[in-house]
Every structure is written in structure tokens, then in C-alpha cells.
């Protein structure tokens, strides 16, 4: 600041000289005046920021801009795989490509096979139960068992192409790991349904309407050029992760609500980190990966991370797929209310304010699915399809009826990261509204581990065994006459599915409302688009039904007797003084008129 004053002084003097003031005495006077002005102008800040403590420097905005170098989108590897003889091809089977990969990347298959991307199964230490697609239900297509030929379209493996015959993943050899689905950079690799996770090696018929996944809108897929694909490999891009994670549940954006193909090339307003013209993060920037193990995931939500920021060279041990691993515990620095906002991070997940809505990229997400209405056929004998005015599919004979939403306001719940999943064979326990939670979330304001999180809650009405009280495992997909999508016969579909799952089936089924919680964590909006204070600090705000926190402005938190007595006392006092003043005035006027009469 002192330096600035001197600069100002010199500038001013230079201006004076330039203005033609040659005489020394006036110039000196001007110097004194300018010096005093400069001191007066600059002394308060000088006083305020004189002790150059690190906190003050850190709070000065400038230094805190994120200097992340925008990523160029390339293979991110120092290796040109086109030069490898092993990859020259031609390849007849995708397993041969894997074998070629493993000839250099010796341990890659072992690494992949140790992850849930391969096993679809893992132990959840929080609940002591098994989780993963192999075990749990969902409220979309409900279950994997008996539908593996279809569902393995999103499995990082090959080798379940024989209809009606499923080889458990653990019995498949190392060359059955699918390297290409994650590493293909040619954009031409497509896994085809009903082939057990394989790409098309001959011209293969597909149902039109899912061109993003098959790479074509034609009713068939041309054979994949495996050599070209193998030579293109590089670090996964968003397209690689997205081909499964954007299209889960049966289409673009259907499942998550915060993940859809709008994130392939998003504007900053949709995702501040993935902004194609800004930071341009890949998925692995947060889902940091080593040895093919990805950080983060629905089965390991860190609802209230305690680890500090990642720092080069420092021990961490936390979950890098958390906001806190980069932003720290007190991320709001700028502005005079920074520390006030930082108070909120104790009880409120970053996502709650920073993802004001999900499905913001122009694509709707499915909010409910009613299997009980499925099975209607159109006049031409094919399953009935009904689209609404916006072109959203609200009924499909093979699946039932749907509700969709765009720019959806999340539901908010206390959440400590623990979810108890319904495994196949578990008895249903409907809540008092008769709804079965497929994944019951745990959390409370007082357990010290929870924060308020945003959720997409996905509803269904799915079949269950009315005698055994278990959710039905049913056979949806296949070309056999038990497949529900072919014949629309629940009885056959359920008995086939239950048999494949080795579960008893009484022969009696009905439909029960189910719901599933999806923590919302993607589509992080820029700060200026995050929730405003008054969106919660009001009546009927976003957190209206959240217990256990005092939210100034939410009258449900007021102590009613303080309000009643306080307002009553003030109103009585007002009436009292008005009355007192009126009597005083009237009597004073009477006295004055009498005085004047006398």
C-alpha cells in the first residue's frame, strides 16, 4: 500500500510537471498536498492489510482462481498403439484382442477382474451384505438374473453369447476381459445386446432407436473392425464411461438423472468441471483410477468426508471422488459471507446447493416406471408405444408406463452414506405408505456422519410373490417364449426368473410400489447458478421437510409461544401507547380551549 501511495504521488507530480509548473516552490507545495492526499486515500487499507498474514493473502481472490490447465483430448499415453505388431490384426474374436493387450499389460486382466466393473458384486462393510448388480434389485428393469445375455452389454467382459446359458464371471478366463469398451478411441466399438457383451463380428440385427449405443440407427450393426479399434486405444474419455453410465436403465439419461449424453460436450452452466471449453475434466479426474480401480461409486458414497485436501506427496487415504478432496472443508473464501456459508458444509452436502436441478442438459430422466401396466399390444400385434407431445415415451407394452422429468428439483434427505440394498430373496418390508425401499438410505441429523443430500427418487410398481413376500426376479429379455418382452406373460417370466435365481415361487404375484434413492452428485453448476440462500431460508423452501436443523426464515423452527407472546406484547404496547397518547391529546385540547375561554 505504501508503494501504491508513492506511485500515486510520483504520477501526480509528473502530471504537475508536465502541466507546466516549472517553479520549484509551487511544485514542492503540490508535492506536499499530493502526498497528504495520497496518504489520506490509502492509509485505511494500509492499516487493514499491513500485517501480511497468509490468511489475508489467501483470501485475496486472485490467488484462488483454479489454474487447471484445460485438457487436450487425446489418447493420453506416450504410446502409439498403431505401431504394435500384436495389434496389426486381423482379429476374429474380441478375446484375441484382449490376449494381445495382455501380452504387454500383463496384470491388467487381474486388476480389472478385481473390480466391480467386472464382478458386479462386492462386499459392503457398512451393512455386512453383498451389493452389486448380481445381488440387488433396482426399480428399472428390476434384476439381472435370467437376463444376462442382454445386460452384459454393459459388462467389461465377453463370453456369455449362448442364449439361455450364463457362465458366472469368475469362471471366465483373463482373455474374456473387455479392454476395448473403456479404451477404444476410434468411436466405432459397440457391444451388442444378446451377444453376452461381445461386439458384432458379423452383421447383427438390433432394435433401431438406440443409435448412440449401437453406433447406427439401422436395424443391424456391421461387424466391428477390431484391429482399427485395438490400435486406437488410449485413456478413457467421457464417451467410454458414458456408453454405459449415460444410457443405463434403457436409454439416454433414463437412470441417474445427473448422467446423460449432454455431458459429452457440456457447457459450463451444465457442469462447471466438465465444461468442454473450460476445465474439460474427464470422469477419472474425480473418479481417480489406479490399477484399474475407480474411486467413488454408488456403493461407497462418502456422505461426510473427513479427509483433507489432496496434496502432492502427502498421505491421504480419503475418497478422491468427493468435492472436499480438492476444495477442502472451507471452500467459500471470497466475499464477506464466506465463513457464514462455510458453516453450512457441516450439515449440507456440497451437491445440495451446487446441483440446483438435475437432468439440466436438455434430456429428460425417468422418474417412475409402472410395470403393472405393461403387456398391452397395439392393433398390429406389436407392443403398444405411446409418446407424449414432447416425444417422451410414456407407455411401452414391454415395460409399462413411465413418467419423465427435466430440470428436476431433487428430494433432500439426511444421508450418512449407508444404503441397505434389497438382495434377491429378501422379504419386502413396505413402509407406512406401502412403499418398498429397494435401497433404504440411513442418516439422521444427530449421528455425526450425515449431511443433507439431494436425491432422485425413482419409483416403480413391480411384481412380487404375494405368498413368499419377495420381489420377483423375472425374465425380461431374450428370444424365448418366457421372456416378458416377447410374450408379455408375467407368470412365465416370473417363474423362469425365480428358477434362475434359485428362489421359491408360489405361483401368485401382484405389484408393489417400490422406490430407489439415487444420490445426485454430477452436473455441478457454476457458483453463480447454485441455490440462493432464500431458497431454503423461507417457508416452503427446498429443505422445508428436513428435520433437525434450525433454518432461520423457516417458521416451522420457531418456538410458537415466543412468537405469540412476543407479538402480543408488542401489539398490546402499541395499542396502549396509542390510547394513552389519544387521551393525553384530547384532555390537553380540552384544557387549552378552557384556558382560552377564560
Amino acid at each position: 500500500m505504501a508503494v501504491t501511495s508513492i506511485h500515486a504521488y510520483r504520477r501526480a507530480c509528473a502530471m504537475m510537471s508536465a502541466a507546466g509548473l516549472p517553479d520549484a516552490a509551487p511544485l514542492r507545495r503540490c508535492r506536499v498536498i499530493v502526498m497528504m492526499l495520497a496518504l489520506a486515500a490509502f492509509s485505511p487499507p494500509t492499516f487493514a492489510s499491513a500485517p501480511a498474514n497468509p490468511a489475508a493473502t489467501a483470501a485475496s481472490g486472485e490467488l484462488l482462481h483454479w489454474h487447471v490447465v484445460p485438457q487436450t483430448r487425446g489418447p493420453w499415453t506416450p504410446t502409439d498403439h498403431r505401431k504394435f505388431k500384436q495389434l496389426a490384426g486381423p482379429f476374429k474374436r474380441p478375446e484375441d484382442v484382449t490376449a494381445a493387450c495382455l501380452s504387454c499389460h500383463t496384470d491388467a486382466a487381474k486388476q480389472v477382474k478385481s473390480t466391480i466393473h467386472w464382478s458386479w458384486s462386492k462386499f459392503d462393510p457398512k451393512t455386512g451384505r453383498m451389493v452389486g448388480k448380481r445381488h440387488v434389485f433396482n426399480t428399472f428393469c428390476a434384476n439381472i438374473t435370467s437376463n444376462e445375455q442382454f445386460c452384459t452389454t454393459c459388462h467389461v467382459g465377453y463370453g456369455n453369447s449362448k442364449p439361455g446359458q450364463f457362465t458366472p464371471f469368475e469362471k471366465l478366463g483373463d482373455n474374456h476381459v473387455d479392454c476395448l469398451v473403456c479404451h477404444d478411441q476410434s468411436g466405432t466399438y459397440h457391444k451388442i445386446p444378446f451377444t453376452g457383451g461381445n461386439p458384432a463380428m458379423t452383421r447383427t440385427p438390433v432394435r433401431p432407436g438406440c443409435g448412440e449405443v449401437y453406433g447406427t440407427d439401422k436395424p443391424y450393426v456391421e461387424p466391428a473392425d477390431l484391429a482399427l479399434i485395438a490400435q486406437s486405444v488410449g485413456a478413457p474419455k467421457r464417451e467410454n464411461c458414458g456408453v454405459c453410465h449415460f444410457y443405463g436403465g434403457g436409454g439416454d439419461g433414463v437412470k441417474h438423472g445427473d448422467l446423460d449424453s449432454s455431458l459429452l460436450n457440456p457447457p459450463k452452466s451444465l457442469d462447471v468441471h466438465m465444461d468442454a471449453h473450460g476445465l474439460n475434466f474427464t470422469c477419472e479426474k474425480c473418479h481417480l483410477t489406479s490399477d484399474h480401480r475407480m474411486a467413488g461409486g454408488h456403493y461407497e458414497v462418502d456422505a461426510k468426508p473427513t479427509a483433507l485436501r489432496y496434496m502432492r506427496g502427502a498421505m491421504h487415504g480419503g475418497n478422491p471422488a468427493t468435492c472436499r478432496s480438492c476444495h477442502g472443508a472451507a471452500p467459500h473464501h471470497d466475499g464477506d459471507l464466506g465463513s457464514t456459508i462455510n458453516m453450512h458444509t457441516r450439515a449440507i452436502a456440497c451437491q445440495t446447493c451446487h446441483i440446483p436441478q438435475f437432468a439440466r442438459g436438455g434430456l429428460p430422466t425417468k422418474l417412475s416406471w409402472d410395470y403393472s401396466s405393461a403387456g398391452k399390444f397395439g392393433p398390429n400385434g406389436t407392443p403398444l408405444v405411446i409418446n407424449d407431445k414432447r416425444g417422451w415415451n410414456i407407455y411401452w407394452g414391454v415395460k409399462g408406463s413411465f413418467k419423465w422429468g427435466e430440470n428436476v428439483v431433487p428430494q433432500y434427505r439426511w444421508f450418512n452414506g449407508t444404503e441397505t440394498w434389497m438382495n434377491t430373496g429378501d422379504k419386502i418390508h413396505p413402509d407406512r405408505n406401502g412403499i418398498v425401499d429397494v435401497n433404504r438410505i440411513a442418516g439422521s441429523p444427530s449421528d455425526g456422519k450425515s449431511r443433507i443430500w439431494p436425491f432422485k427418487i425413482m419409483h416403480n410398481n413391480q411384481p412380487y410373490d404375494t405368498v413368499n413376500k419377495t420381489l420377483a426376479v423375472f425374465h425380461s429379455f431374450g428370444f424365448d417364449d418366457a421372456a416378458f418382452t416377447i410374450t408379455g406373460n408375467w407368470q412365465k417370466a416370473i417363474s423362469t426368473g425365480m428358477k434362475a435365481a434359485h428362489l421359491p415361487y408360489s405361483g401368485h404375484f401382484d405389484f408393489v410400489p417400490t422406490q430407489m434413492y439415487w444420490p445426485i452428485t454430477h452436473m455441478v453448476a457454476p457458483a453463480e447458478k447454485s441455490l440462493r440462500c432464500a431458497q431454503c431460508h423461507t417457508d416452503g423452501g427446498r429443505l422445508q421437510n428436513i428435520p433437525g436443523v434450525y433454518i432461520p426464515g423457516r417458521s416451522a423452527d420457531h418456538q410458537p409461544w415466543i412468537e405469540r407472546i412476543g407479538l402480543l406484547a408488542v401489539v398490546m404496547a402499541l395499542l396502549g401507547v396509542l390510547g394513552h397518547g389519544a387521551i393525553r391529546t384530547i384532555l390537553w385540547l380540552r384544557r387549552r380551549s378552557r384556558t382560552q375561554e377564560h
Binding site: 464477506d336 459471507l337 457464514t340 462455510n342 458453516m343 457441516r346 450439515a347 441429523p445 444427530s446 455425526g448 440462493r532 440462500c533 432464500a534 431460508h537 423461507t538 417457508d539 433437525g548 436443523v549 434450525y550 432461520p552 426464515g553 423457516r554 417458521s555 423452527d557 420457531h558 418456538q559 415466543i562 412468537e563 407472546i565 412476543g566 407479538l567 406484547a569 408488542v570 404496547a573 402499541l574 401507547v577 394513552h580 397518547g581 387521551i583 393525553r584 384532555l587 390537553w588 384544557r591
Partner: protein
Amino acid sequence: MPAHRIYLFKRFERFWHWSQALLVITLMLSGFRIHGLYRGVDFVSALRLHIYAAWALVLLWVFAVFWHFTSGEWRQYIPTLNNIRQVMRYYAWGIFLGEHHPYQVTAARKHNPLQRLAYLWVKLMINPIIWISGLVLLLFAYNWTTDISLQAVAWLHTAGAYMMLLFFVLHVYLTTTGATPLAHIKAMISGWESSEE
């Protein structure tokens, strides 16, 4: 022409009174907005104003407390019940008949017994309630889910705010009960209280 004038309120005292009045009004307006008693003003602006005004009041009070003790003015607030019945009778009756105030104000005893009690109520009850709860809210609210019940503290703060509003209503009205309706206010501006005799 007034028979005599007394220099009742010194310069700092007047500054203290009016700046405190401004801050308390600001705090009540912004506070009740934050509380949700009325809407229409931006929540964040109200919050920001409330925090700044609160710290300004803290600063003002540091000087005021110093002044009270160094000048000995704190003695003005020593409660007394002497003649309190006459004073009460005056406000309930005599004032309507145009009687003179039974209390003779001097520079050493500028507050009548009722005023002493009222100001003591402000200084020993309302202010501490608002201050302690307010400081807890300012400094410790980040621990809301674990260590302290933010709700209880907030309720206390609200109760204090309603008491302050009640005091404010009565106080403003009573300023009009001087020799002329504006006499007390003029005294607090100029420092000179005119007696009616």
C-alpha cells in the same frame, strides 16, 4: 422562555444514544426479515446488514462501557423504588390532567425511578440475552449439529428481539411525554433539557 436549562446529556452520550438507536433499528428490521416475520427484502442483504450492524454495536458498546465506568455515569442506573409510586401515578393519571412531573431531574440524577428500572431491564436482561445468543450464533453456529442446540440459542435471540421491540415502542412513546412532545428528543440532540417552570 424556560425558567432554567440543564446540560443533561454529554456529547459522547448523545452520540452513543443515536448511533445505538440507528443500529438497534437496523438490527430489528434486518433480524425480523431473517426470522421470516416479513419478506420483500433480499435475505442475503438482511443477513449481511445484520452481521455488520451487530459488530458495529459491539464496537460501540466497548466504548460505551468504558465511558460508563470512567465517567461514573453507571450510577445513573442504580435502581431505586423511592417515589416510584408517584411516578407511576403521574403516568397513569397526572399526565392527563397536565400535572407537573413529580421527579426533579438533575445532571447527577437524570433518570426517574421508572426510567432507571426500564433501562436496567434493557441493560441487564435484554442486551445480555441478545448479545450472548447473538455472539454464539455468530461464532459457534458452525457446530450446530453436534455441540450446541442452535435452535435453543436462536429461540433465546428471538425472545430478546421481541423484548427489545417492546422496549422500543414504549421508549419512543415516552419521549413525547416531556414538557412539550419534542422536549426530550431535543434534549437528546442538543444535550440541554428545558424545564417547564
